[in-house]
Every structure is written in C-alpha cells, then in structure tokens.
Symmetry: D2
Subunit: 304 residues, 4 copies
C-alpha cells in the first residue's frame, strides 16, 4: 500500500515513520523544508510540493492529513483540485467532528472518499503504536486497513471503524474530554498530598507504588510518576495549563445533548482558571464581602 | 429590659447601640479599653470587667455574646462561674451549630439558659436592623423578645425562633452558604461582561439597571452596584477572597446529610482557589500534558 | 408615541397593557385570535394581521417583537417587506445576542433601525415595571424613550442603553446566567435545611425571616418564601427543571472568552441532571465499582 | 514469617490465601463460622476465637486487621488485652487516617506496634497482587516485609513505606478520591457517546480500542470495557452509586488544607445525587421559575 502523509510535525512525522517501518510505502509532504528533511533523514520519501506528492502516488490515491484543525480547510481547497475520483482523504488530526461532516460532504462532491480518524498516542505512538478511531464508509476503510494495522499497537487491536463519517472525531473528542477529567483527578490528589506537609510524602514514591496493583494505575499515572521522579517538586514549571479544543467541544456537545458532565466540564474550567491573572470575579467577591461585612480587602500590591 | 453585650467589635458595638436606641438598657463589655470607650461615646453604658458587667445587671440576667467563634469557649468558662441559676446566655456570633449544642449542655449544668442566634446584617444592621435566627427554648425566647424586637428591622419581622438549640446557628450557616453561591454567581456574571470588550459595557450601569424590575435584584446586587460605581474596574483590589467558616461547615454538613450542593460547594472552592499561588495541581497538569503530547510547558518565570 | 406590539403571549400582552396605561398608543398583533381578544378586552387596540398592524401605525413606525427566540427570523422575513426606511424594530424577547447582530445587519439592508432589548420582569412586570437592557444606536434609542419610560419601574430607572447592537441581549443572557446560579444556591440551601430533620425547621418561616435585614434578601427569595408559605413541602411538584437557552449561551460564551464560571455552569448542569432518568453515567459507575471491588449493584427494579 | 489475619470477608480471605501461597504461615480468624470454613477449604489454617488466634502465633506476633472501618475500635479493645509488648497490629482496612493516628497512640500505651496500611486491589488482588501504602515506624515495617513482598504484585514493587503513622491511610484516602474522579470522567464520556444516537456507537468497541495505544488506557477502562462487552446497554442496573467514606474524607481534608479539588469533590456529589429521589432542590427550582416567569411546573405524577 502507498500513502501520502501531509503535515510532518511531531505527530505526522512519527506516523510516517511507523508506517514506513510497517512496510507501507509512505511519501511525506510539509510546506516546511526543515520538516521534510528531518523525515527524509529517517529514510522516508518526501515530496517538495503538494503537486509532487499527488503525482508520486498511484491512483486511487490515499492522502493522510496530519495538520492543525485550523489548517484543514485551506489545505483541502488546495488538495481537492489535484485529486481524481476514487481517491481517499483521511483527516487524522484533532478536527471538530462537525467540520468533518462538512468536509466529507465537500469531498463527496469531488468524488473523493473521506475518513475522519481520531488519533491518540502522543510522542509515544511511534514506538507503542497509535490508537485510531475511524468514521466513514466500509469500502474506504477496507482500502486503508494495511495502514491502520501498521499504525496501531498490533494488527488486530488499537484501531476500530466506530461508525459513519464524523464518528471517529466524535469519539476522539469524548476521549480527550475523559483525559481532561482523569488528569485533573490525579492533579488534585497529588496537590493534596503535597500540601499535607506533616507526612512529608515522597510523591514520586507514591505514584510509583500506585502503578502496581492499584485501581488507579494507568498510562497517565505512569507519565505522572515519571515526571515526579525527575522533578519531585515540579520546580520551574508555571501553573499554566493550555487546552486544545476537544475539551471545549465535549462540554458544548454534552450540554447540547442534555448530558450532565460536571467533571469533564470542571476540568476544562480549571484550565481556564489556571491561565487567569487578576481575576475580576475574585476582585468582585472581595469587594462585595467588604461592602456588606466590612471585611478588609487585600490591596492589589500586597505580598502573600 | 436590661442586657449585657459582651464583645464590642464592629457587630457587637453596633448592636449595643441599636438596642440602646430601641429602649433596652444595655451595658457593654469588651476586654479592650478602646472598644469600650468607642461605645461609651455613643451614650451606651459600659463595664470595665466581666465581673462588673455581671454585677451591673439585675437577676435573672441576660448576656449577649458577640465574639469570634474561637473565643466563645474560653469566655463561657470565665462567665459561667459569675452567673446564677436562671440567667440567660445568647451566642449571637458565627458559631458552629454543633458547638452550640455542646455549649447549651454546658450551660444547662449551671442552670443557665442558652440561646443560639444567627445574626445577619453586617455593617448595615445598626441602621437597617438585624436578621436574627434563634434556637432554644420557648421560655428563654420570651424573655429575650424585647431585645429581638429592637434589633430586628421591625418588631414583628426579621427575627424568628426557628427551632430547638442549634437550629439558629444551623440556619445561619446555611444562610451564609447561600450567600457564597449568590456572590459567586454575580461575580462570574460581571467577570463575563467585563471580558466582553467589544461591547465596552459600563458594569456600574448594568448593575444599576438590574436593581429595578429585574429578577436578580437583591441587596447583594445593591452593594455590588455601589462598589462598581465607586471603582468601575475594581482597581487596587487583590483577587484574594477570604472565607469565614460557615461555607466550610455548610459543605461538610451537606455531604454528611447526603444533600448534593454543588453550587455552594464550588463557591467555597473558588475562594480557596483565589488564595492559591503556584498551584501544584496546575503544574502537575502542565507536566502531564508535556509528558504525553510533548506540549511545551510554560516556564515558571515567564511573563504572561 | 405609537407602537405596535407583535406577540401577545404572557410577556407581550402585559407589556402592551403597561404601555397603554403609560399613555403610549399601542396596537397589538398576534396570529392567535384568542390572544388578540384577551388584549382587546383590556382596552388596548389590536390588529388582525401583520399588514393591518403596519398600516395602523404612522411612519416612522416602531414595532416591538415579543415572540419566542425561534420565531424571530421568520417573523422578520414577513415584516421587513411591509416596513419603510426609517422604521424601527425592537426585539424584546430572549434572543441570542449573536442572532441580534445578524438581524440588525439584515434590517440595516432595508434601512430599518434595530434595537435588541433584554427584558426582565416576568409575570410581575405589568405591575412592577420591567427591567430593560438595550443595545443599538443612540438615535433609535431616543425615539424609543417614551416607551421605555412607561415600561420601566420609573421613568429614570430600570432601563438603560448599555451598548451597541447585541449588548442588550448579551447583558440579558448574563443576567439569566446569574439568575440560574442564585436560584440554585437558594435551592441547595433549602434542601439542606429540609433534610436536617432533627430541627424540624419551618422553611417558610426561615425564608420569611431572611427577607428582613439579611444579606441574602432578594426578589427571588421573596418568591421562594411565598411558594413555601403556600406549599411548605413543595408537594405535587416534580423535581424537573427546564432551562430556556440563556443559561446555555452564558456557559458557552464564558468558555469562549476563557472566563471560568463554575457556579453558573453547574447550575445549568443541575437542571439537565434533574431531567435525566436512568442515568447511563450512574449505571456505568455502579458497574465499574462492582467490577473492581465486587460491590453489589442495585438492580434496576429495586425499590429505594 | 507467621501472621494472623483477622476478618475473612472478600478482602481478608483473599489476602490470607495470597500470603499462604507466598509461603507465609497464616492463621485466619473471623467471628463467622462460614467465613472460617471457606478459608479453611483453601488450605489456610483458621482459629475459632480471637484468643485461639493469638495463642497460635509465636511472639512477637503480627496481627493483620481486615475489617470494616467501624469495626476496628471494638476489635482493638478486645485484642489488645490478649497481646504482649512487642506485638504488631496492622490495620489494612479503609480506616480514616486520623483514627489510625489515635489507634497507634492507643497501641503504643500497650507497647504494641501499629502500622496503617492502605490496600488497593479489590477482587483482583489474589491473582494480581495488592498495592500497599504503609505508615508507621521503620522497625515494624522491617518485620512485616516478607508479608508485604508476598501480598504485592512483586517483591520489589507495589508496596511502599510512605511515611509515619497515618501516612498509609492518608495516601489510600487520596488514592480513592482520585479513583472517584477517574470513574466519573469515564462515566460521563460513555454517557455522552451513548446519547449521540445518530452515530449508533458500540460502546464496548470504543472502550476496547481505547485500551490499546490511547492515553486514557487504564485498569478502570479495562474493567469498563469488560462490563460493556457483557452488557452493552447496562440493562438491569439501577443508576444508584454508593460511596464508602474515602471520598468524603478526601473532600473534607482538601477543604481543611485549602486545596481546591473540584473534580474529586463533584465526583462525590454526583454519587449523592444518584441516590436522591424527589430532590427538594429541584422542586424548589421548578417552583421559583414558576413564581417569577409563570413557567408551568411539571406535576409530580406526570410521566416523562
């Protein structure tokens, strides 16, 4: 099987390599020369332009997009005119599932098949394999199968055709919502242990022991344990947590479907909170307390 | 009716004055000379010692305690030996209702009646009257009635005998829990309007218009509107919110009684959050994101 | 001043009456004959068709829409062709502010002015006056002023031009988000008191006493106290709480603007939760507990 | 090494077997004859009375308690008079760490050593090994080591001496708080996927694919996937979730230490919520909405 990988950032480059190692004939493309050269250095073929990439692939072609959510639409507009009826586009990035529904429609007009693929695996996927949740039609899925078997941790597991178009990115969205909740649960627990100074707990030791036999063992805990081993007090790290879209989409979808999801929702809000400085809400609270009860307000430039 | 007011801080001194203005013969006591002199300057009698206060009152005596929650037990131990069977002690402060149950028992051993009185009114009570929620026995309540009618906004409203011993402070605890939730709701709403820069909203104007005809009008909103009028951007105020015990007790009680109270609970947690610096939980989250996805961590000394 | 009121449901009919009583020459229209007749019976003029309504008004006309959010677009499409340059449309309903931005644009194409007006007042507005938050241009606002002075609790308060187009409905959206949080805070507090059976609290009495002198006094509390007086155990009422859109919009807007609003958000989720039966999440939790710890699962048809 | 296991319920009996299989000379005791016989049938020695158990063990003795949290104090009062200076008591159950601090003190008076051991492993521990978090003194820990190596998944991992007395149960408490949050995150995510009917997702398939290569893979997910495979719609299970104490303690401890833990806290509240019927808070909300806006209230006996 031959496949073109578009987008050679951290995820795309690693996936191209894993496909290559798995016996898939991959050609990679990225507008950045440096990204192309990094991939070429691993022995994977690259193309210098989108046109060259398309021409390098035999029809019917398979193009796997691994670009930021915001870059998919402009890329599709460039790509579709170069493709032929029967070609297949896979969006393996973190797109909103509703965008995927729209894009599948757009591709259908060009008689190009479309698969939305939610991809989990992070920086570990190259070595451990990727978890792939796929939405689309059966026929396209069958064509893609050799690539999926190469990307997943094993040929028969770690990838699944979960439903029609959109279902792949929908499951990935929920997956990441769950991830937010799990991470927040661990973070709160470790923060509580860290604050219990009288026990002088060694958090790395606690995380390590939980990895064996405990019901909270998980991959996230493995990562947390590793982080605490290398930096037990998490020094030098700002308490500033980004979010990447899926959490917001999950919260929004849950509300739209009347599904209460308080823990996933709060996990997102805690990330927003982490990035706030000089919260207006908190100042308003401090001021209202003062207005009613005469409680002193802390001045803005007071130390702690 | 005669009454001894013990504790002449902001609340006690104002209540003594309102009682005095309402025709009750009050004598005030506070260990601090300055506090005594401030009250004396308003025309209210004071006593220089606890012993002098007790002697100044005709039996059966009525002593109203208006001291911090932590000061009630030591004060009672000092006071009870000076009292006689049939005397009445009222705890009008923010005590935990379970402490009041214990203290009533302690007083009963000395044949002294005990009333727990939850008091709301803040710095406005002197002028507007206090809201009083009382727990205890009917007979003691009847004796206290003239004082209650003087303290409340009107003789027939703003005070109530809500139940047996403990019930007064229990209601006050819940009252403050509700207050936390209401304040947080306002604070979040104003923060949202403040952030919507494209509308350049005048928050003081919005708060003011809501005071008339709107379903969110309330005393807290009046105070908020006033604060925003005087300081529209809440400048110079730290985003740092204290809590005073009742919120914690409410959360704890709700859990013990299996009553989910998520909004009151979150309101308390937001106050804890406002006082955090360098949150360990947030650093743990940032580090775990990095460990899995390779996302960059913000360094601790980065600016925003 | 003359004004056409379109939509004679609970809100529109009452507002037409208040305008009429305030000396504004109102003509009301509603597609439902019964609604028209009900208004006519109060002495307010009505028109049988939209065309008749428009013709009955002198140019430049003022049309006030008081229809459900979903009905505004179709109504505008019907109405605009009947209007003339210089006419003014006011949307006083609960529209999403982003729809109002779009509709103002649509009206501008027809040279018709547009004002978005967030309206609070409920069934009480006829008697107490309405709280009105308005977005739009100064000139249109000046023309509308007599109507605003008649609708508001007093000529000089209870209405405000808060900003450009959209700002009126934006403020109303936040207003209702705050209302959700306040109501939830009260509901949780009363539920906690109701569960504390050993104190046998009379919730109506507690609500009543809080109305006087307490920091939690508010209009919502007045309504709550009234409800508890008439039905102290809230018998016959299902624990089923609707929501009407503004809460969802507030939550969504807060997330989009990176403003953490946990209490408003949780208040919405609690309403979703109240409407759930046979929660899949709870069944999943029960099953996972069983799978790990061997804890018995309650069978679906068990009684409590 | 010889050891007496007191409490032969699900956990204690399995642990006795694992110790036995690991070469530790265990004698088990339980007041219930049936429990003793079940253990005896697996080849582990049992004693018919507490006295017989103590006499069967060589001094200095090691007694491991595996009884419900509420049974520890009465058991200790029975047990301590039978012990001799130098004996060791291990509490491996789910005790509150503050009780363990008190009990260690009580044992010290009898010159008996005390170790608090948080134990995770559930019904899987017999086969997979237990995760053990231990608090106490180094010397006692050294004596216990052979038992710990037999109980843990491997001699050198899955057990740790995490700190002084109390630290073991403290870590277990936090561990379970985290477990609550993780389980709630999964439950919410699966509930959201279940509600998205247009994708007709096979939840067992999704859970299974996530087990391989995904960042949310964990033991809890393994258990969830297994449950969904056997009962894809979770039929016959009531949406009713128990909690066992550790969640409450974690929430309470976090508040006391000023550590905001919103996700763990909400996870507990969701369990309380799952067990509510006819929520007073929801009825209060429904009634307040009606009182202000005239919104219809759903009658208590209405179907959905």
């Amino acid at each position: 099987m031959e496949l073109g990988m578009i987008g050679l950032g951290r995820m795309g480059a690693n996936m191209a390599q894993r496909l290559h190692l798995g016996g898939i004939a991959v050609t990679g493309f990225d507008p950045g020369q440096e990204a192309r050269e990094r991939l070429a250095a691993t022995g994977v073929a690259t193309a210098a332009t989108l046109e060259a990439l398309v021409q390098a692939l035999p029809a019917p072609r398979t193009l796997w997009l691994m670009v930021p959510a915001g870059a998919v639409d402009p890329l599709l507009e460039q790509l579709l005119p170069l493709l032929s009826p029967g070609d297949l586009v896979v969006d393996g990035g973190n797109s909103w599932y509703r965008d995927s529904l729209r894009r599948a429609q757009r591709c259908r007009q060009a008689q190009v098949a479309f698969i939305d693929c939610g991809t989990s695996g992070g920086v570990w996927g190259l070595q451990e394999g990727y978890c792939l949740m796929l939405g689309g039609e059966e026929e396209a899925m069958a064509r893609l199968r050799p690539a999926l078997e190469a990307l997943a941790p094993a040929a028969d597991r770690g990838w699944a055709h979960v439903g029609p178009t959109g279902a792949g990115h929908f499951c990935k969205m929920v997956h990441n919502g769950i991830e937010y909740g799990m991470m927040q649960a661990y973070a709160e627990g470790f923060a509580l242990m860290q604050k219990k100074q009288e026990f002088a707990l060694d958090l790395a030791q606690v995380a390590e022991v939980w990895r064996h036999g405990s019901v909270v063992r998980s991959w996230l805990l493995d990562l947390g344990a590793d982080a605490l081993r290398r930096n037990p007090q998490l020094e030098g790290i700002a308490p500033y947590v980004q979010d990447s879209g899926e959490g917001r989409w999950t919260v929004s979808e849950a509300i739209e479907l009347d599904v209460p999801a308080p823990v996933i929702t709060l996990s997102l809000l805690e990330r927003l909170r982490s990035r706030e400085s000089n919260s207006f809400a908190d100042r308003m609270l401090a001021q209202m307390r003062s207005g009613f009860g005469g409680h002193a307000v802390k001045a803005a430039n007071d130390g702690e």
